[in-house]
Assembly symmetry: C2
Homo-oligomer: 297 residues x 2
Amino acid sequence: MPTPADRISESSMTDLWNVWFTELHRRRAGLTIKIKQLLYTGKSPYQRIDVLDTYAFGRMLVLYGSIMVTEKDEFVYHEMLAHVPLFAHPKPRKVLIIGGGDGGTLREVMRHKQVRATMVEIDEAVVQTSQKYLPTIGTAFKNPRAQVLFEDGERWLARCKEKFDVILVDASDPVGPAEVLFQKPFHQQVARCLAPGGIFVTQSESPFFHQKTLSGIQRNLREIFKVVRPYTAAIPTYPSGFWSFTLCSDTTDPVARFKESRVKAAGFKLKYYNAGIHRACFALPSFMLEDGPDLGL
Amino acid sequence: MPTPADRISESSMTDLWNVWFTELHRRRAGLTIKIKQLLYTGKSPYQRIDVLDTYAFGRMLVLYGSIMVTEKDEFVYHEMLAHVPLFAHPKPRKVLIIGGGDGGTLREVMRHKQVRATMVEIDEAVVQTSQKYLPTIGTAFKNPRAQVLFEDGERWLARCKEKFDVILVDASDPVGPAEVLFQKPFHQQVARCLAPGGIFVTQSESPFFHQKTLSGIQRNLREIFKVVRPYTAAIPTYPSGFWSFTLCSDTTDPVARFKESRVKAAGFKLKYYNAGIHRACFALPSFMLEDGPDLGL
């Protein structure tokens, strides 16, 4: 005699699996995503780590409840964090990545064949999880031009005696383990470790939802760097779908020094970044300007 | 003796009112918004109309289940639909708006003091509802330079003997009453009613979620107009948070003919549009280019 479970067909089991992941901004609005399968849940010394398979965006890495990357739209964030400074700098050779445990930023940096990179990630579990469950993102960890260290990025940088042409902060939100990476003492260490003409970029949250956080980050950075240029990109799975990065340097203007010919010569096949986007991404909506209105979002 | 209802305090009544509006893309991902109050639900001959008050975005107009505008972020859509063509055109005098029942596009068009506008909206109930519940959006219906007609925009245009410098299609999605406004016979009528050097702009859906719809619209438009230039804006409450418009003309390139001095002379206080954004919004991510990859979203 068949047990009740035997009578449940494969398709009805899938139909009944009606599970949604929801990431809210201030508990009042957010993104909701239907989940195909829970692939992994774990806890590192630093944070909770989840990998979910979704219908809309493919596999998705979630740290302490916030979406970090999804297979379908991670290209925007990683291309825009890496290629804007690497093409703004006339001759990048040494790159430092703080954070970036999923490996997407390292993958994009490694497309630049003349570059050697050091990546300092605090949480080895994020790298291991990403390599296992998101193999299209974490492709460059074994690249001989890349060195991956599992250390506290802030402490590592405070002791660092090297200089870098490009420093990228690929941090999660300014709560939890990444908080210090948004503060002035860290940014002073970054400035100390930049080679002449060097460029620093940090992700700097949603222009709509984190308007005050972003203007605070910029205010702090202007006390340290002469050139402070926010830029933006459209990222569907990040809060509000619109994201900011802030590029800093003492001497290198990212648009004035930009040579389209270098992008053509590199010959990358990218999905978001191109020479037109390089110039355009620094044009800011009026509400993002210093005298812009508070949107109250 | 107090009845049970008397014992419920005001604050606990609000706490228990845990109502969410969710707009899904292909039933698998979308935006979810906490609702403060249901202000209006009605049915016109054309569609279901709802007005909801939300915690995150203020009041929100919903047509057949899709968010049309919210008080907090409507400025992006309306500024970008109106001011890009009105500043791209060297001397706009006559403007036609098809749709736009909430009145936000008319409000932005009326900022240009040299312009007279005709608005043709199929559904009078949308205008009435907007004037009543969204008074900061529908501010220009009574402007003496504006004429508002309640007619089927497609039929009206087919009979129209006037010519316009700028024609704007402010339509809802290409399902329901607005479907014909995305099709070739309508676009041919638009072309017939453009004055020499005239500019046509239509909203053209999400570059991420409606990639095929957008490329289809562009393909059709290229059969009719010599200049076909999509542009983009970040709109948090539209699907994926990233939206496209398509600008068409026979002779007027929206960037080459653009004069920043006209924006300065107009002296508007806007929240999104500015001269830098005018040029930048036409730079497209690689996936939006003709040979771009299919994102599978």
